[in-house]
Each structure stands twice: as C-alpha cells, then as structure tokens.
C-alpha cells in the first residue's frame, strides 16, 4: 500500500469556538494501468494537440476559452478569468456542527476518503480524536475542495481522523423510479427457502485481500515477459559535447558512491 507524499490541503477544523489545524492527505488511489500512446512505425511517444474542428489548425493554449453547451452546438462562452472569479472561496475551514452515528449514513453517499493529520497543534487533534472514540460518534459538516463544497463526515478510525466527502442527495439516483423495478413479483416460499439455504452455505467473513484485479495481473505478467525479450528504448536527442565530459565525471562518482 502506498504512503501519500504531500498534503493536498491544509486548514482548520472548526467546531464552535474550537479550532483544530489539520493537513489533508489523499487516502484513495486508483491503481489501474496507464499506457502511453506511441507511433506504430518508430515507437516514439505522441503528444496531444487541440485541433479546430472547422479548419484543422492547431490552437495554442492562450487562444482557448471554455464553452458550456446549452443545447446541441450552441455554447455560452467563458474566459478562464470569469470562471476563476466565480469559484467558491475555499476559506480553509472544515466546519463541523453536528455529532452523529457514523453508521446511520447511507454508504451510497460516500464519495472519497482523506486522512486528516495534525498540523501545528497536535493536542487539539488528539483531543478531538479521543472525544470521538469515547463517544463513538462522528462529526458532520462541510469542506470546500477546489471548486466544490462537500458535505463531510469526520470519524475516528484506527487511531486517526478520517474525513469522508459525501455526495449530495441529488447526486445519487433514485432506483425506485426505474420501470424495471416497479412491478417486482414475490417468489414462492420454496424458492425463497432454497435461496436462503444457498446464502447460508456460502456465508463467511468479508476480506478485501481475497480480491485481485486479474486484468492488472495479466498485464503485469506480459510486461515481465516483454522486458525479458525485446523492449523499445526512446531515442533521446544526442548528448552535446559539454555534457559528454560531465558524463565521464559522473561515471566515476557513481562508482565511488557505490563503494561507500
């Protein structure tokens, strides 16, 4: 598992008149695969360019504005400055105003998790942590991250404070409005008994370690295999004269450092 490098946000938890300075670290990391696009002929990396649909010219960054598509092919245009001015002000505060039962929150509303670490005043942090542990409550409130204000819940988890951003109720679909779900038939008693027996037979403890991403493993194996065989090396522009001398010195130093 990885350790987050830098806090993504610093600020203060405020509960009434109490302030707890904190740093926020990412807790969730998506571990998929990322490939780079290469040119088939010579395996050199490709880069993105923004191209005008009308005349196929490459548009430089400074000539790009943003458009909100009001209806098909009809845009309201914004400059970067206009959007900047409209951004909510992140006042670097996590405002908590209610203590609740953590498990009363519908897991469907959980968006992402962040580690809260103490900043400057660890005593205040520990006090909040211990108070939540003792009362077995979580604290609810709000946080503004980048351009969005989130409902947030702060809980004590294995000796640290974890902040979860939540989704607003309107961000979660209401399943009862799906047609397929409107007229569900009741199963017969026999069917239900049988199904319940299967469930019982397969009951166990949930352990996340049992789950592995099979596609990821297969690609990793393929990478290993390809590494043993032929790989493509990206050609670097040739090293200039002066740099060559440095490389000689560098080789010596690297050897010396190896001996140390």
């Amino acid at each position: 598992m990885r350790v987050p490098k830098r806090p993504i946000w610093t600020g203060t938890i405020t509960i009434g008149l109490v302030n707890v300075p904190v740093k926020l670290y990412r807790m969730i990391f998506d571990r998929g695969f990322s490939f780079r696009f290469l040119h088939k002929q010579d395996s050199q990396p490709l880069k993105y360019q923004k191209v005008c649909i009308k005349d196929n010219t490459v548009v430089p960054w400074e000539d790009i504005v943003r458009g909100y598509e009001v209806s098909k092919n009809e845009f309201v245009v914004f400059t970067k400055e206009e959007l900047e001015a409209a951004k909510p002000e992140s006042d670097r505060r996590i405002r908590l105003n209610k203590f609740v039962d953590f498990y009363s929150i519908d897991p469907l509303h959980f968006e992402s998790s962040y580690i809260l670490a103490p900043d400057k005043n660890p005593e205040a942090y520990t006090l909040l942590l211990k108070a939540l542990e003792k009362t077995e409550k979580a604290a609810a409130g709000t946080i503004t991250l980048r351009t969005k204000e989130y409902p947030a819940i702060v809980q004590a988890h294995k000796g640290v404070l974890i902040l979860n951003t939540l989704r607003y109720s309107y961000e979660v679909a209401d399943p009862s409005r799906l047609d397929e779900l409107k007229q569900l038939k009741e199963p017969s008693k026999d069917e239900l008994d049988l199904a319940a027996k299967i469930v019982e037979d397969l009951s166990g403890e949930f352990n996340i370690e049992e789950y592995k991403d099979a596609y990821k493993q297969r690609v990793e194996e393929l990478i290993e295999k390809k590494l043993k065989g032929e790989t493509i090396v990206i050609e670097k522009p040739e090293v200039k004269e002066e740099a060559k001398e440095l490389m000689v010195a560098l080789k010596q130093t690297l050897e010396q450092l190896k001996k140390k």
């Binding site: 300075p21 740099a243 010396q256």
Partner: protein, 289 residues
C-alpha cells in the same frame, strides 16, 4: 543501449556563472559531481534553502525555500506550514546524486541546510557557532577564536567540526543527539559565547547591540528552527567561487586563507576532514558536567 547515468537533463551548460573565473554552468555541475561523495551524507534528510543565480553571480540571485514549479516527482520534499508565509512550504531534501545535480542545473549555487533534519524539525542535531569577523577584525581573528572555542568544547568532552563559511568567517559545529530544543542549544551556544567573551576582548556574542567593529561576532541566535547555514562543500556566490570547506582542526593556523578553497581547488583535496560527521551524536548535558 546506454543506461542513463542521471535523471537530470542538463541545460544551458555554456552559460558563464562566475565571470571573473569564466566558470560555466557545466563546470559548476562538474564540481558538484566530483564533490558529491564527500558532500551527500551531510545533507541527508535536511530541509534545504537555495540561493539561485540563474544569470550568474554578478547579477542578482534569489532565495528559494519552496520547491519551484516543475520540480520533478522524484525529488524528495519536506512540507511544513510557515506561519509567516501563511502557507505550506515544500522544502527540498537532497538524499541522492540526482537531486544534487538537479540543484546544480537550477543554478542553485548556494545550498543551505537547516540544523535539524526533516524527521525532527524542532529538535536540532547540530549546534552551530557562526564566527563572523567584523572589519577590521580578520579571518585570522576568527581562526584564533575558533581555536579557543575548540579548547572549551574539548574540555567539555565534545567533538567539534570546523569549516570555512566560504565568505569571511568560520563555522564550528557540534553534532548532537536529537533530544534538545533549539532554545536549549541556543542557551548552550550563548553560555559558551559569554564565557569566551570574558577571556578575550576580540569576541562578542551579544545580540542586543550592534556587533562592534573589530570583533568576531558569535551569533548564537543562528540556533533557531528555520535558520540555515551553508552546507559543507556548498559553493558561495563570491567572485572567486569559494567553497564552504570542511577542514581538519590542524589546518587552522596563521596564514590560512579562505579564498584558497574554491571550486577548482577543493576537488583536488584528497582528505575528507569530516569523515564520519553524520554518525557523531553527542549528549550536551552529560558531557558538560
């Protein structure tokens, strides 16, 4: 297929950085390459502050605490909230050759380090005696004071290390265990300073009045968190490309000239006077009884 020797891509190698010596950036990088084996251990895990001179030492340089934009992901940093700046500062930490060379390529001629390491920022592991001769006091006077200071520290059973500041003065350093606060190391340095002051009219460690001319100023207040000193073997932005050079105590005698130690001469020295420096961890109070 040549294996890459460094992650750093060197740029502007022909740019003249020390015009008086016609020394180019390539030569500066070469200096740091050659000195790295002696230098890196002393920098390890310390938050660094840079003085960068992108246009060479004759043009204005700038101080840089926060890792600049475009800092590669492989460069380690140490994040600390700064009350004065009211934001997080991402100090650069240099634990490997690549980072050192990246700094050299940034024209970070002067590399300064804190007296505490990133893992214990508020508990220093070095005590610094910064001996700064105020004209007409000379480097020779700083040498005299440094030798007196060494006697004093020897009597307390403390091993000390000396280097030129690279400018006019000397730095005397005691590596200690990470147990004391800066207030404690400051008091320790001030007490020693006051004691020496009584022995010699040549020295002052007084902070409240301006250092008198003609004395060696021993600035005990340097022992504070966030304060930095030039790293051992850091180049300085002087016309002669002087180096803050670690010395053996036996080298400290009449006639020693700090300007003899520059980017070209220091790499020729075979000795490593500060060998083992990073492994010394001394106890202040036990020794002082």
């Amino acid at each position: 297929m040549t294996r890459e020797l460094t992650k750093v891509e060197f740029t502007n190698l022909k740019k003249v950085m020390y015009p008086a010596l016609k020394a180019t950036k390539a030569q500066i990088i070469e200096y740091y390459i050659k000195i790295a084996p002696k230098m890196l251990h002393a920098l390890a895990n310390r938050p660094l502050v840079l003085t960068r001179f992108p246009e060479g030492v004759e043009k204005e340089g700038f101080y840089e605490k926060d890792a600049p934009q475009g800092t590669p992901e492989w460069v380690k940093t140490f994040t600390r909230y700064s009350e004065t700046a009211n934001r997080n500062i991402h100090y650069i930490v240099c634990n490997d050759l690549d980072t050192l060379l990246w700094l050299a390529n940034l024209a970070a001629l002067e590399i300064h380090m804190t007296l505490s390491s990133a893992d214990s920022f508020l508990k220093p592991d070095l005590v610094l005696f910064d001996l700064d001769p105020k004209s007409p006091a000379t480097f020779g006077d700083a040498v005299k004071i440094a030798l007196q200071l060494k006697q004093e520290l020897d009597a307390l059973g403390l091993r000390s290390f000396v280097k030129t500041s690279g400018k006019k003065g000397l730095h005397v350093i005691i590596p200690i265990v990470q147990r004391y606060t800066f207030q404690q190391t400051r008091t320790f340095a001030r007490d020693i300073g006051t004691k020496l002051e009584k022995q010699s009219s040549l020295i002052t460690s007084e902070f409240s009045r301006r250092p008198k001319p003609g004395v060696v100023f021993m600035d005990y207040l340097q022992n504070s968190h966030g304060k930095t000193m030039a790293c051992p073997y850091s180049l300085r932005a002087t016309p002669q490309a002087t180096v803050s050079t670690p010395l053996e105590w036996s080298q400290l005698k009449k006639g020693l000239k700090p300007e003899d130690f520059n980017m070209f001469s220091v790499v020729l020295i075979e000795k490593e006077p500060w060998k083992g420096f990073s492994d010394v961890k001394q106890d202040l109070e036990v020794n002082s009884k």
